[in-house]
Amino acid sequence: MAEIQIKGVAKSFGSYTALHDINLTIQDQEFVVLLGASGCGKTTLLRIVAGLETATTGEVWIGGKRVDHLPPKDRGIAMVFQNYAVFPHLTVFENIGFGLRMKKLPNDEVKRRVERTAGLMHIEQLLGRYSGELSGGQRQRVAVARALAMEPDVILMDEPLSNLDALLRMEMRAELKGVLAESNTTAIYVTHDQVEAMSMADRISVMHQGRIVQAASPIEVYRNPAAEFVAGFIGNPPMNFLPATPQGGGRWAVAGQVLDGPQTPKALKFAIRPEDLRLADHGLQAVAKVIEPLGAHLLVTCDVNGALFRAVLDSDLSVKPGDTLTLAPQSDRIRWFDPETTRAVA
């Protein structure tokens, strides 16, 4: 049983505030992904939970116990470091078994667990090597295996698959998810790979400049981004935005088109995902600029009223740069954002 509660945590480095009032509760056995751009404070938050960094204010609770004052070893956590931190003076075997030896487990148990986790990470043939004799991706897998071997209540992973090739990463992703679910481990997983976040997370927590802007299921984050930042960050290509001016009565003028929207007098931003656009007789007038065939689809970058606008269209379509397309947004997929607060408006 290891629920993690982060209550009002803030962290300053001198005059620079890396985290502002973070509140996040992670259920027992939940898999939460921290997703955000470089420098937004993901590692810092993870280190505070691990006890490697002390929060300037706020509390951290693990398994119903306040742990702020506890050293890392008494928090029931294991951590995978962003830069691996594989011990250079020990073999891969001794690295993976390091924590187990500290727990004074019998030799055969250490051996069993090391071999099992090494097998999971496909590094069983490297057990006799030193870290200097490993590639970056192999070292990273040693770091993951070392944390898994601890069989902790809580595992904290800082971009644990960042250095693997696409194929191996996909495979490891599935294995990791499987192992953690099987062992009932609560996990916080840091990444800036959206696909990884989408495919692994029970819940995605999107961070931006030291704040959590949205914490919700992957599909919710994708469909109903709570803020403009989330809309622009999640999805590849990200959402399109256009300025909208109110016409009264919930009618909005967007790039010469009139659309239905929320009932507010303020100016808003209209947003739509590139894949939620269809070619139609009526709609936004878009001048195609760049056409990129992606196999199954065609990514067309256009100009709508001077704004950059992307559409994902059927690959059968024949379109040349300079053509004018009429794009109709799928009405139930349109989202609106308040440009002042950058929050979503229903």
């Binding site: 490697l52 890392p72 070893k73 294991a78 250079p88 003076h89 924590g99 500290m102 770091a143 601890m150």
Partner: protein
């Protein structure tokens, strides 16, 4: 690229190579030639030493060295030197390594100033301090003892011990320790299980360095000891009026142990200075 370009580039590289080799040879000669003459003169009979020109091949006359082997007080001085140097080595590491660790791992106010001060201890010439020190030592009863002299030598060696261990500790990423903490280590066990094994060779090097500093130090040794002279102080006192061939032999006896030590730890010294030695 044309053929001439290639050949002129190669010629340039070759001349650069010669220049490099010449500089290396010059530097080596600078160090080795005096040592070689010391060796020749040590292993020559008194007559040869005083004659001119010198032979380039030693004649393996062990007379001068045998003289020292049988010399009254020589063995005792040698023993004193070793005792003082070992004490210096232990004390300077015991104080210097924790200071180096603190400097590399903790942020505290006045850190820059502290580093500066550590170096500044070398700015005061020893002769200036020797007399007040001697007076103080006599009052406290530390005069003419190995431990008293070792204390002085420790202050000489500490700046090096601190700075060497500081750079060694800084070379060990803090994440390694942090990883150990998350794997069940306390600060102390993380240090003994992760940092210490990685740092041991370097610690050994800086210990030997302290040993050599103490071994070679003559001024404080001469002022602060009378009965319990170290080898350097002993030889300095005795050799002043000794004949030339004995002076050479004495110098040789002093130089060799330091050379052997430095040779033994050269790998770590190079590593310390960032010179790859593979």
């Amino acid at each position: 690229m044309t053929a001439t370009d290639v050949s002129s580039g190669a010629a340039q590289r070759r001349s650069g190579h010669y220049l490099y080799a010449a500089s290396v040879a010059l530097l080596c000669a600078w160090v080795l030639v005096p040592l070689y003459f010391l060796l020749i003169n040590t292993l020559s009979s008194p007559d040869t030493v005083n004659s001119f020109p010198k032979p380039f091949i030693p004649e393996f006359d062990w007379g001068s060295l045998e003289f020292f082997a049988g010399y009254e007080g020589m063995l005792k001085a040698l023993k004193n030197s070793v005792v003082v140097a070992v004490l210096t080595m232990i004390m300077s590491i015991a104080v210097g390594a924790p200071a180096g660790y603190a400097l590399s791992r903790f942020e505290f106010r006045g850190k820059g100033l502290f580093r500066m001060l550590v170096l500044l201890t070398r700015a005061f010439p020893l002769p200036l301090l020797a007399l007040p020190l001697a007076v103080m030592f006599i009052r406290t009863g530390l005069d003419d003892t190995a431990i008293g002299l070792a204390l002085v030598h420790t202050t000489l060696a500490i700046p090096f011990a601190v700075l060497i261990t500081f750079s060694l500790f800084s070379g060990i990423p803090i994440e390694l320790e942090e990883a150990a903490w998350t794997l069940g280590c306390t600060r102390f066990t993380a240090f003994t299980k992760v940092v210490l094994p990685l740092i041991l060779p370097g610690i050994a090097a800086s210990a030997i360095f302290a040993f050599v500093i103490s071994w070679n130090e003559v001024f404080a040794a001469a002022v602060l000891t009378i009965e319990n002279r170290t080898l350097t102080a002993f030889l300095l006192a005795k050799l002043g009026e000794a004949p030339l061939h004995l002076k050479f032999a004495g110098g040789f006896i002093l130089v060799v142990p330091a050379l052997v030590f430095i040779f033994a730890v050269r790998k770590y010294l190079f590593a310390m200075w960032g010179i790859a030695n593979r």
